[in-house]
Amino acid sequence: MGYGWNGKILRVNLTTQSCQVEPLNEEWARDYVGGRGLATKYLCEETDPQVDPLSPENKLIFATGPLTGTYGAANGRYMVVTKSPLTGTVACSNSGGYFPSELKYAGFDLIIFEGKAPKPMYLRIYNDKVELAGANHLWGKSTSEAEDLIRNEFHGDAKVALIGPAGENQVHYACIVNDKHRAAGRSGVGMVMGSKNLKAVAVRGTGGVGVADPAGFREAARECYRMLRTHPVTSQGLPALGTAVLVNIINQSGALPTRNSQSGTFDHAEDISGERLAQTYLKRNKSCMGCIIGCGRVTQLSDPRWSGSGEGPEYESLWALGAACGVSDLAAITQANYLCNEYGMDTITAGSTVACAMELFERGLISEAEAGMPLKFGDGDAMVRLIEQAGKGEGFGKKIALGSYRLAESYGAPEFSMSVKKLEFPAYDGRGIQGMGLEYATSNRGACHVRGYLVSPEILGVPEKLDPQAIEGKAAWAKGFQDATALVDSAGVCLFTTFGIGVPQVGKLFSAATGKTADEAALMEVGERVWNMERVYNLKAGIDPSQDTLPKRLLEEPLPDGPMKGAVAHLGELLPQYYSARGWDEKGIPTEQKLKSLGVTS
């Protein structure tokens, strides 16, 4: 330890308010690297998968990787791992900004939170000085207000990760916001943090991260730099327009889920595109720590109804709060995006839940009297009002705060929730892009785009162009992308770099940083190990393989229009191929032999 990893874990028991420093388990660090993999290993070893996610017995783990805090491939990430209250699966949510690196500079790799504080508290870290402080005065404050208060009373250079009122009010998809505008967004990790009465983690670190082979590390970083500065996606698309560059691309491909996935194209896509955002509210571009892509968008909203500034909306938010709700009002989308950041809510689930409510309203299942307003597709003002009510836990917002599955189920119509394992899928239609349908059905945290982003080959042609409607070979592609992503998430590297660099480059950085030589095959095996460990956790948690499915709409209702007209998701064909590619049995259970070869405890 000492190179790449700090070799130290901070264990915080909120019930007894004790903070202890422990050595990092070196054997686990070798096998699971860090971040997503290592934190999930700790979760598996230390908690019962059947635990109530909101009980003190559930643990909340903040995890950096061995590359977090260095340079080369946007190495500024951390992950929050816990059991999700939204899905009941393992949760792992990823964020960048400056907080993750600061945690490394303070000397820690992971923080494990246990128990539940008797009253609101927050954790203050100044290098090796760690203390829990009262947070009564911060409770109820928005994420940006609370962050300012903490910096004023603790340290002006502190980096802060915290929940907003949504986490306190137990919104099922509350997120953990850091550095004002970045978020560990999905799966309700902020709800778990709120259930523990933990408002924030503030850290100031003045130390450094050393590497085993400085010359080798620099060389590997220069190679990444050259590749990222020349690849069209990482040197042009993302820097120019941010993730919002995708709105027009995905709409033109016929896979932009519109009005709760009733269509695959949105007539007003241009109005909510990255190009339009650049012409209107964009103030300037912004990076996370050590990132040479710089996809962040700082925006300033000027509209008769609202004013404000912040970051985003990103592609997923433009879609969820826009196309999914049929909303083309960019000001309303931007305002709702700011509200999600201030209350601390996942924009994808928030927008998708509003979209679901709009369909339930139009089908007569939700009345105007109950909702307190008409909920028609396309009504941006209604969408903004619902988002605000959800964050505050007021009025019909209490129902929106449940997420789309619980909302739709309460009206006896769960089929109108566009989710898998109760996690709403993001901005790609699984009918229009077959690989994404498979990816949603099999992702270990429910429907997700950052577990195996097959949009890259199927639409963007990176690393090679695949036919989005083809079935042949997709299962193997899904496995490969899922395993590579699990490795990238475990190393502390931003997934967006993988448009321009690959596992070999991450491997060079990893080997030079840690002094533990790992070739591509060994690192891909780490990814596969992580994936199988997550699968085993979910099975033990009671998430059986029958949940590897898609909403009825994607399986049975053909896309009504656009370039992919007539397409349905061919999951029935893909799933057996996927189980086989994974080396699992035909029921989707990892075989003893597979788990033994990976060293995963069954």
């Binding site: 805090g69 260095t70 340079y71 400056y98 690196s101 500079y105 550095d179 004002k180 505008h181 670190g205 003045t206 130390g207 450094g208 991260v209 050393g210 590497v211 400085p214 620099r218 970083a221 730099y225 500065r229 103030k283 300037r284 571009n285 912004k286 990076s287 996370c288 720590m289 050590g290 990132c291 040479i292 892509i293 710089g294 962040g296 700082v298 500034s309």
Partner: protein, 159 residues
């Protein structure tokens, strides 16, 4: 003219690659708090300001040093600390009005930007946006002048 690190704040995206690369080259660790160049991020205002030693013609730090440990190179103009002569008294730290020379506790010496000595400045090599340039010409000033001149040009022909 002297070659200097030229900074154009409008091109900065706040990635701190300069702080990472500077600290890694000069201390062997990624430690932004020990970087000689400072990239300050103002989240609220979305402003990113980068500052480093300007290698003064008549440096306060040099004049203040009681041990003659700071010198200005006759050809390159670089102001650097001779660590064999420096006793770590920190007089230079007090003298610099810009805070661009600091005391490095790990080595017990004054520490400042020396433009990476004989090497190309590492921060410039790792800056992804061209915010930092190493040149004789004052490129940010030229950009400002050009912006003004273009405005003037656009106004020509109108009475």
């Amino acid at each position: 003219m002297q070659k200097l690190i030229r900074i154009e704040p409008s091109k900065c995206v706040g990635c701190k690659s300069c702080e990472l690369s500077c600290s890694f080259k000069n201390t062997g660790e990624f430690a932004p708090s020990r970087s000689r160049i400072i990239n300050e991020v103002f989240l609220e205002e979305a402003q990113f300001i980068t500052v480093t030693c300007m290698q003064c013609d008549d440096p306060w730090c040099l004049k203040a040093c009681p041990k003659g440990a700071i010198s200005k190179h006759a050809q390159t103009g670089t102001v650097s600390v001779d660590e064999l002569k420096c006793v770590g008294c920190r007089t230079c730290v007090s003298a610099c009005p810009f805070g661009m020379i600091k005391y490095a506790p790990l080595k017990g010496k004054a520490d400042k930007c020396n433009l990476c000595g004989d090497d190309f400045p590492e921060c410039v090599a790792f800056c992804p946006t061209g915010c930092l340039k190493f040149s004789e010409e004052d490129t940010p000033l030229r950009e400002k002048v050009l912006k003004f001149v273009r405005t003037m040009k656009a106004g020509q022909g109108e009475v």
